[in-house]
Amino acid sequence: MKRREEINSLKNLERLKEEGMNSLFPSRTKIMVGMATCGKAAGAGEVWQVLNKEVKKRKIDALVVKTGCIGLCQHEPLVDILKPGYPRITYDRVTPEKVGELLDGLVKGKFKKGIMARIDQEEFLLDDTSRRYNKGKIPAYLASVSPYKKLPFYKKQMRIALRNCGFIDPENIAEYVAKGGYFSLAQVLKGRKPEKVISQIKSSKLRGRGGAGFSTGLKWEICRNADGEERYLICNADEGDPGAYMDRSILEGDPHSILEGMLIGGFAIGASQGCIYVREEYPLAIERLEIALNQVRGEGLLGKNILDSGFDFEIEICQGAGAFVCGEETALIQSIEGNWGEPKPRPPFPAISGFRGKPTVINNVETWSNVPAIMARGAKWFSGIGTSKSKGTKVFSLVGKVCNIGLVEVPMGITLKDIIYGIGGGVPNGRSFKAVQTGGPSGGCIPKDLIDLPVDFDQLKKAGSIMGSGGMIVMDDRTCMVDVAKYFLSFLEEESCGKCVPCRVGIRRMREILEDITSGRGEEGDIEYLQQMAEAVKDGSLCGLGKTAPNPVLATIRYFRDEYEAHIKEKRCPAGVCKPLITYSIDAENCTGCGACQRVCPQEAITGKKKKPHQILIDKCIKCGACFEVCKFDAIVT
């Protein structure tokens, strides 16, 4: 009897897989819209509505479905068309107005205009296979279109955590299963020992993707071996770095990968209850997680006696109010328990005494998403990727002054240059690269001299920054590094929970000094004082927030000391950013009298005749910098 049930549950997965394959390779046309938050922000919601309406109106035999973020956020809204007999075709920057044209092309069989790339095959990372969409030849008119993997943006990427994002419908469990999903879980539950699972994760050398980079397998082992009957497991989805949205994209684009990772983790450590701590500001992520949870429950993959293995597991969603410090594991636990989100001193570490004082494993979204892949492909495969101490890949959200803004996943050890220039396409508007901030607000700025730095946990630390959860902000030559340090400290000042003195008062006071420096009130000795304070705050703070908060100050002083000195001694901002220190004027030699500055000036502070050098009326100028931004001849000087 038991045997038959086991077969039945596997049969269920096989059925889902078949269903999913039919949906990935449909017999009728499928139109996919990138509907993650990034896509929606770019207007995908409107495109989605118009598409649905038009398809109905024109009686086109096509399915319209949602996908997650494929990474190229700069080009959104993205619409993909998969017509039987053709490769999948990606259209970028689609507007509601362009939808009609797009559908015309579809009906006529030639859809040439506005194509960004074609995708020839569906990759099955977990099975290490791929399958072409069209059996025959690529139609001639599409031959010249770049396959997406050959686009500079994707060429150097390797997508493990993001394997399904943008390829499957995140609200369809069958598509996840078709891509190999839940088979890792089935395999684990089929008779593997929990210790074996842990040793596999350990030998994969996976390190936590939330920031600290602790060995995931070791954390699981400590928790499993800790005293006590009850154990808990938490997914940390409290992503809060400014400009970083790695976890959100996975939650929105492939929620099942996290659930499967957690199920495997729960089995390995001996927990029967898991919790996803996700911030309330991620409503779409929460919605998709809820849908996914309902689906797994319905398919018998969550709850009692999962896949007839005797393993019980439940997952709950716990919404946080969005405090940055709640990403710190002890503060996160406090928050789940309904307390004030304040960190506690460690030890004891949560793996020994966590939620309700019980052994608790907390891993970040990206970490969980890697787990099923490691189980499917093996530890050796995973540890074959990356550098000696940082294995696998890392997702970065590449933002700031870079041509291709988006979400990228790269093997550890890739150089900053490859990411910023190769994938990111370099700095836009003819400006030059100055620095890159990694690791979020408490990371550090790495200057252009270190552009060949291989990106992994240890190298970034050596350079005075951190890996963090994967924020990567590119800055050009018009960025003032003192101002940058001030910006990050202001963020951290507000997000400090206020429990310990070094963090609460130290960050505030450092920010005040930076405020002085950028306003022309900097004093001799400020740099040394800042350094001294920063070192002590780093050493003396209670939790990770305070311990890393001084990084932006220390790293900018380390690499851009001359800029600090220019502010303090010469009362000058070399990048022309700090308003109290700049006066705009026009270099008559460079000015062509094009009038561009005159048109953008909100104060009518610029005078001059056409084709003659212009002037700025100092009294009227509010130093908004609009003229500086718009001038193509570098004629506006500070």
Partner: protein, 254 residues
């Protein structure tokens, strides 16, 4: 028993002892601010930081929260430790320059107020949380808590209004290390105004920070003031005493 070394002296203490307690046993002085023996260790002020190591690299940790471990090596007065303590004092001194305890500690450690940091003068509170914790852990009333975050964090009654739960027991007043909490006893026949509130007639006790003013109860026998009515009522219910138990003062009861 757990054996550890503090400043090269070995000591054996019971499991669960904190490093601070162990150091006290050896008469090694570690300055503290947010620590109080009646409260659960908090680790907020960071004044009691020490260097701990087992094998290899030393970590800085708050001695009031760190439990002893077998073979632990503790150093209580290294340059690294002093740097953090000095920073803490310097920062707090700029925030509450008038607080006597900070002035004393600064003298003791040779710290002077930094000219570079503008003094903040509106508040003596250094957010050590002793009042909040005492109200919760000792009194069990939970009348006050932290509000806000970071530098703008404050201790307050809910919504910064008059506390509906405060029993004016004055524990917070006595446990505050900096004198940030003000309490006024309003004598019989006198009147005083509660901050942002009404006028109360004596005998009463006002705690300004929580915007409460509560009437004091007199002994029915000798007429001496016993304590705030609310406090006596709270105690009576908590220990399940007779309704008239606190009508007479403890001395008359004897």
């Amino acid at each position: 028993m757990i054996s550890l070394t503090i400043d090269n002296q070995t000591i054996e203490v019971a499991e669960g002892t904190t490093v601070l307690e162990a150091a006290e046993k050896l008469n090694i002085y570690i300055p503290t601010l947010c620590h109080h023996e009646s409260l659960i260790p908090y680790g907020g002020c960071r004044l009691c930081v020490v260097e701990v190591s087992r094998n290899g690299a030393a970590d800085l940790t708050s001695s009031c929260t760190h439990k002893v471990e077998e073979g632990l090596k503790v150093k209580t007065n290294t340059e690294r430790v002093r740097k953090v303590r000095r920073l803490v004092l310097e920062l707090l001194l700029a925030d509450a320059p008038e607080a006597p305890i900070l002035q004393d500690l600064a003298r003791e450690m040779g710290v002077t107020r930094s000219e570079r940091l503008k003094p903040r003068k509106d508040d003596l509170c250094i957010l050590c949380g002793r009042c909040v914790r005492a109200c919760r852990e000792v009194v069990g009333v939970n009348a006050i808590d932290f509000a806000g975050r970071g530098y703008s964090k404050k201790v307050a009654a809910p919504f910064f209004k008059s506390s509906p739960d405060c029993i004016a027991c004055s524990t917070c007043f006595y446990i505050c290390p900096t004198g940030a909490i003000t309490m006024r006893e309003v004598e019989e026949g006198e009147k005083a105004r509660i901050p942002e509130g009404e006028i109360v007639e004596g005998p009463a006790r006002i705690i300004d920070n929580w915007k409460v003013g509560l009437t004091m109860k007199r002994c029915k026998k000798c007429g001496e003031i016993i304590a705030p009515e609310f406090q006596l009522e709270y105690l009576r219910k908590k220990v399940d005493l007779k309704e008239d138990h606190f009508d007479i003062c403890p001395s008359c009861r004897e």
